[in-house]
């Protein structure tokens, strides 16, 4: 017999005593953990997809309408303020970005079906995107009725490549290139075009204006993408802009805009809380499953635990054993759930083209939730053991 010098690992022994029961328990708990991980993964992917365009903007500060609480929502501010911003000291450039989503319709070049799409317009002479493909195609975008399309757009948008002709909002366009961005939960894809073409398509102009100075009533600006002069501190310039401009516009750093967008979707939009509820349901289901498993096991061993109490074991030891068992359940179930979730994310992420990833944040959050779920269940279940009276053994 091997020498056993460490204390008897009662929790581990109890866990492994009945392999079938262990498998059933792990399946139940892992299912709940998987549910939470999927909800958390979709929540993260949802937020991540909504942030993709902002992350690709090449600016230190963003000038926006104060009423623009969601980046995807159209809320332009007066062009006059855009010009006023340019006059503020410390500004290297303020470049306009235009957005259309509601009226933009893309015709699938293969199936000829129509789908809603997100469209950004910008001045090719003042590029605002970090996307290298866009930077490489500025000249092509200056041509009338040309666009670039996201090659990670959902498949229902059809296969698009340079040279393809189709329709955008019932007008003929030619695709001059693609870029890699990805859809979000509200839009199947993104189109980028020059401001001139944008005005023609969505600004009620009959043709692409060749010179913007010819236009006296240029449309309002959706976002002013600002670069701060070298050597100037971004917070100082931000304060100066806020002081110079009326309260109808707001000036945010890129990080602040990302944070505002994230908070909106997490707290205000109905979508974020839905995932939270889903996670909560997974937590509750998991806790119930874990509680039921532990309660059943402890009930089968009440006289054994009562004997331990009679032998001189304190309640703290009994709690420790049950908690240890719960933690082992949580960790083993987590490994199973992690593996299953990894496969699901790979498959669903590719199919839905959303950024579903087993990030470190998701890994840490879900393991903490799994542990908490099992520990809380154990703390409730252990009351049964604590209530046992060793005197009843006689």
């Amino acid at each position: 017999m091997p020498r056993i010098l460490a204390p008897v690992p009662l929790a581990r022994r109890n866990l492994l005593a009945d392999r079938r029961r262990l498998l059933r328990a792990l399946a139940g708990i892992a299912f709940a953990v998987l549910l939470m991980m999927v909800e958390l993964g979709f929540r993260t992917a949802f937020i991540g997809s909504m942030l993709l365009p902002i992350q690709q903007l090449d600016g230190d500060l963003m000038l926006l309408s104060s009423t623009k609480y969601e980046f995807d929502r159209k809320a332009p501010f007066p062009r006059r303020l855009f010009y006023e911003a340019r006059a503020v000291p410390g500004i290297a450039s303020v470049r306009p970005l235009y957005l259309e989503r509601k009226t933009a319709v893309w015709k699938n070049p293969q199936t000829l079906e129509l789908f809603g799409i997100q469209v950004f317009g910008f001045d090719p002479d003042q590029p605002v995107f970090l996307l290298p493909e866009v930077a490489a195609n500025l000249e092509a975008l200056r041509q009338p009725d040309t666009v670039m399309i996201d090659r990670r757009a959902r498949s229902n948008m059809g296969y698009a490549s340079a040279g393809l002709r189709t329709e955008l909002s019932r007008r003929n366009i030619q695709v001059v290139g693609t870029f890699r961005l990805g859809p979000n939960f509200f839009s199947d894809g993104t189109v980028i075009m020059s401001d001139r073409n944008f005005f023609k398509f969505f600004g009620n102009y009959s043709a692409s204006p060749s010179d913007l100075s010819d236009i006296t009533d240029l449309p309002d600006v959706e976002v002013g993408v600002i670069k701060v002069s070298p050597g100037r501190r971004i917070p100082d310039v931000q304060r100066a802009l806020r002081a110079a401009l009326p309260a109808s516009v707001t000036v945010l750093t890129k990080a602040q805009l990302i944070d505002q967008e994230r908070r909106f979707h997490l707290q205000v939009s109905p979508v974020g809380p839905i995932f939270d509820v889903g996670t909560l349901v997974g937590f509750a289901v998991g806790m119930l499953i874990c509680y039921q498993i532990l309660f059943s096991e402890l009930s089968d061993q009440l006289s054994q635990y009562a004997t331990l109490k009679a032998m001189g074991y304190y309640n703290s030891y009994l709690v420790k054993v049950v908690l240890e068992q719960a933690v082992l359940y949580a960790l083993l179930a987590y490994l199973v759930a992690w593996a299953a979730c990894y496969v699901i994310f790979r498959v669903v992420g590719e199919l839905a083209l959303i950024p579903l990833r087993m990030s470190i944040g998701l890994t840490v959050t879900s393991v903490v939730l799994a542990l908490t779920m099992c520990i809380v269940a154990a703390l409730i279940a252990v009351r049964r053991v604590l209530a046992t009276d060793p005197a009843e053994l006689f």
Binding site: R3, I4, P7, N14, G312, A391, L393, F394
Partner: protein, 378 residues
Amino acid sequence: MPTGIVHIEDRPVVRVDAVNHYYGEGQARNQVLYKNSIEIGAGQLVIMTGPSGSGKTTLLSLIGALRSVQEGTIQILDRDLTGLATHDLVTVRRNLGFIFQAHNLFDSLSAYENVRMAMQVGGFAPDEMRERGMRMLERLGIEHRADYKPRLLSGGQRQRVAVARALVNRPRLVLADEPTASLDKESSNKVVNLLKELTTDEGCTVIMVTHDNRILDLADRIVNMVDGNIVSDVVLRDALIICEFLKGIELFKQLTPSELANVAERMKKRRYRGGDIVIHQGDAGEDFFLIAGGTAAVTGEQPGEPTRQIATLGAGQVFGEMALLSDEPRVATVRAIEDLETYSLGKKDFREAVALSVGFKDQIRQTYFDRYSALRSR
């Protein structure tokens, strides 16, 4: 000078004094123990008997610090359990060994690991645990099953593992509830012999609830409870000694073995050091004495005369009976010459014993008359 200086034989391992116990609260409160008192010394194998609901398991659980003492006092191993908090009761239990009717072994642990669970609260070094655990399993004849899980053991083997678990820490007090109920004859003998060895070799005290007649032969003492009261408490070794002495005395020869046992049952052991006065002339008589060992001097005093030694009494002789029968003061003083061991019978019990046999009473009177005559003639 005070008389009747009592020296109880040793510091008792268990001392129960006027213990009442109740279950339930309010109107549902039900008394299950009534002013029970008992002292149990080291090295005794005590069997508690009584019908179901007599309170024996309640008393056992109180002695085992498994319940809080409500009224009265209980001391075990020099520790007063009265008023102890739950945490302290648990600490006290670490010095005890419990054997329950069911083995209550963890199915997930091997036989050795189940025993080791007990040693973990015994404060032993890991290396010592292994040796000690295996030795205990060996004493119970199941060392070859040390690695087996309980489900692979027979019922008897499981119970022997439970016994090993209870005894492995060498507790000074073992409380057992029907420990042989699920054992075959061979296993039962092993367990009972081990328990007996512990009492004789190591001075361990064992209190056991059992209906197994095979164990009665080995018991030192039988405590019988009825309706929450200890109705008899017989120290068998003492009772046998007393009966042997009593039947050798002319006065008691007419008593049947049953009547002798009834008398013996009520007698209490007392020890005196040399020079101690057992009874004093002129005091009221409260007890009848039988000398189990040692010698005592009987002296008488007459007004204006020096104290005279009337007799020297030794093992098997009795004194103190006259004052109980006549309700007159003691007519002589009895002093221990050397360490003296006596069995005493209270006045009420003595008179009841006398009432058992008219012949007995007459002979006592005759004896008393003879002694008086001897006293007067000197």
